[in-house]
Amino acid sequence: MRPLGAATLVAPPRPAPRVLHRDPAPSRMRYKLNRLWLTPLVRGLARIGLPLVLIVGMFGLWLGDAGQRAALADRFEALKTQIQSRPEFEVSLLRIEGASPAVDAAIRTMLPVTLPASSFALDLGRLRATIASLDAVATVDLRVQKGVLAVQVVERVPAVLWRHAAGVEMLDATGHRIATVISRDLRPELPLIAGEGAAEAVPEALAVLAAAAPLLARARGLVRIGARRWDLVLDRDQRILLPETGAVQAVERLLALDRAEDLLARDFTHLDLRLAARPTLRLSVDAQEEFLRVTGRATTSAVNR
């Protein structure tokens, strides 16, 4: 049992004298502004619309001055040049592959760029078009590799010589011009074609020549007649008239006749194969007389002629 008096000390902490604080009530204006701020539209405008308008407006004002715009453009150009002229982008060498010396020289003189140059300054498409405009070039690839402008050229392969009024030219298998040849003797291995419209019919000419391979030792060339059919000209002034269509078959038939009848050894000036059913020979003057003599029907007319 504790004495009664001891219990009087059981006392809670003294209640602190509470000073009533300032009234926390918001003023009418603050309350209204607070509510306005909580309105979604106002909030969205203030948080997104207003900064956007400010930024765009400031940028617009700044760009409104022409001098500023020019300065900006200058700075941009300077930066561009600075980047483009870095050594990493420099092209200092031109390497041409697959070109004959003449074409190589032609390309080197044609290219409008002076090396070294920045790779940004090279208009590869235009360079390629320039090179491709050379007659001797079939296809060309351009690429920039580690400071080297590599030009990969495939040249056209000469297939025939074309003699025309102005001279002799080399054509490829499609009839495209390659180069002018001074004399036919420079390329004796190439067959010769001539006549009006010969260059347009080169593939057909090549096919005829291929079919007439056994005759090539005697062949002088092909002549285009009337821009529609070929004459095969042999030595000894002999001429084989091929039809407009089926020239290759006509040649094959001729070879078959030659094998059977030894036709080409005969003395004739023209062999007309234009009618497939009826090959026609025109004999030379001597052969005619000899023929008349043999058959006993000699006339003086031939002698007089």
């Binding site: 809670p12 004298p17 009533l20 009418r28 309350y31 209204k32 607070n34 909580l38």
Partner: protein
């Protein structure tokens, strides 16, 4: 106001404002659309409780309110502004509509009865409307207005106790209504304060009624119970049966009177008295309380006065007579209302002043044996700080907003109440005869 409430719920955010004498509570409710949870987890609509969520809550010391009525308009307006702004800040959403409750304004209950003959055998909505219209308007006095009017009971011929008579067959339909009338001026003042805060009033309810909705459990509401809301300046009582309020009244005394008694008896400031009451208060003195000394202090500078101590028994001796007085007044109100004749006589004490230790024992002695302390229903999102007994009316108001009982019976005005040449009457005649 009904349209306003619907518009607010449509918008999804509504504020609850409990303007009390000692504190002003503001809850911000968000309505996520009706019955959102229903299919999800098998929870039923629960009378609208699952429809909303509390997203903001704020309490502030009330100023300018006495006896549950607005006393100083400007002060009250500032207090409402504080609470609303704090709740808005917590909810981070702007609130435009508010449902308020009023504790004072001298509520008075009236029981009404109406009776009509049925034209057809079956009771239709029009018949219910006619029966409601047949109730005679009592003389509620000048400058008073009807706050609530509920049809409590329907009787068809000799069958009484119908909750919903529609579709029943009978001859005579009788209805009992409960009407609660309050002072119009007090309501006007509150409405004015709320309008001054740029808020639209979407509903108004009696504080005793909504406290009963929150604090009484469902079977108590069904079987009959009284809810006593011991507030700061006024103690409201509401009697429920069959889930309807049948009586409401108020005693113009509350916790602040206890505080002022302590303040006068011990000669301390009101704030110190409030603190003494909250921390050391009680109504049942024991031998231990004689020995428990409480320093009450003072700022006078006089050593003797600043060192004063009282025993807890003395404090209880001051508080108890006032609590007894309040309870006896309430007892008189309940007796006058005929609470004795209810089948179940459960009494639920709620409100801030019901937290006095030992109050349930004292109340049982004065009011009757079936006394319990009630706390408000738990609703979604309510902060822990707002789950105490003092928030019964705020929570009840939230439930009221989600599921207003007034509007259970929302009918057209009967045709005979319209002007004679009403187009509606012609349409009705046309419909009835063709």
């Amino acid at each position: 106001m009904r349209a306003m409430r619907k518009a607010a719920i449509q918008r999804g955010v509504i504020a609850i404002l409990d303007v009390g004498t000692s504190k002003i509570a503001c809850l911000v409710l968000r309505f996520d659309g009706p019955e959102k949870l229903r299919s999800a987890d098998g929870v039923g609509p629960m009378a609208g409780q699952s429809d909303f969520r509390v997203i903001g809550a704020a309490t502030t010391r009330s100023r300018g309110v006495r006896f549950g009525e607005v006393d100083t308009m400007a002060e009250t307006e500032r207090a409402i502004r504080t609470a609303v702004q704090m709740a808005q800040k917590m909810a981070n959403v702007r609130v435009d509509h508010v449902i308020a409750c009023i504790a004072g304004a001298q509520p008075r209950s009236y029981g009404l009865a109406g009776e009509v003959e049925l034209h057809e055998g079956q009771v239709g909505e029009a018949d219910v409307a006619r029966a409601l219209a047949a109730c005679e308007m009592p003389d509620i006095g000048p400058a008073r207005e009807v706050l609530h009017a509920h049809p409590v009971n329907f009787a068809l011929d000799h069958r009484s106790g119908l909750g919903d008579p529609r579709g029943h067959v009978g001859q005579r339909l009788a209805v009992d209504m409960h009407l609660l009338a309050v002072e119009a001026d007090a309501i006007q003042n509150l409405v004015f304060c709320i309008h001054r805060c740029d808020l639209e009033l979407a509903g108004i309810a009696s504080s005793a009624y909504v406290a009963g909705i929150a604090a009484l459990v469902e079977d108590e509401q069904e079987l009959g119970a009284a809810c006593i809301d011991l507030g700061g300046g006024i103690s409201g009582v509401s009697v429920f049966i069959k889930k309807h309020m049948i009586f409401a009244d108020a005693v113009r005394m509350g916790g602040e009177h206890i505080t002022s008694d302590i303040s006068k008896g011990l000669q301390v400031p009101v704030s110190v008295a409030e603190r003494l009451k909250t921390f050391h208060g009680g109504v049942q003195a024991t031998g231990m309380d004689d020995r428990e000394m409480i320093e009450i202090g003072g700022d006078s500078g006089d050593w003797e006065k600043d060192r004063r101590r009282v025993s807890r028994a003395e404090l209880i001796g001051i508080m108890r007579p006032r609590v007894e007085e309040i309870l006896e007044e309430l007892r008189a109100l309940l007796d006058a209302a005929g609470f004795d004749s209810l089948p179940s006589q459960q009494i639920v004490l709620t409100g801030g002043a019901s937290q006095i230790p030992g109050l349930d024992g004292l109340a049982a002695r004065i009011l009757g044996h079936n006394v319990r302390l009630g706390r408000p229903l738990r609703v979604q999102g309510l902060p822990q700080a707002a789950t105490g007994a003092g928030f019964a009316s705020a929570v009840g108001l939230a439930l009221f907003a989600a599921h207003p009982q007034d509007e259970w019976w929302d009918f057209e005005i009967p045709a005979e109440r319209y002007p004679a040449r009403s187009l509606k009457k012609a349409v009705r005649w046309f419909r009835d005869n063709w």
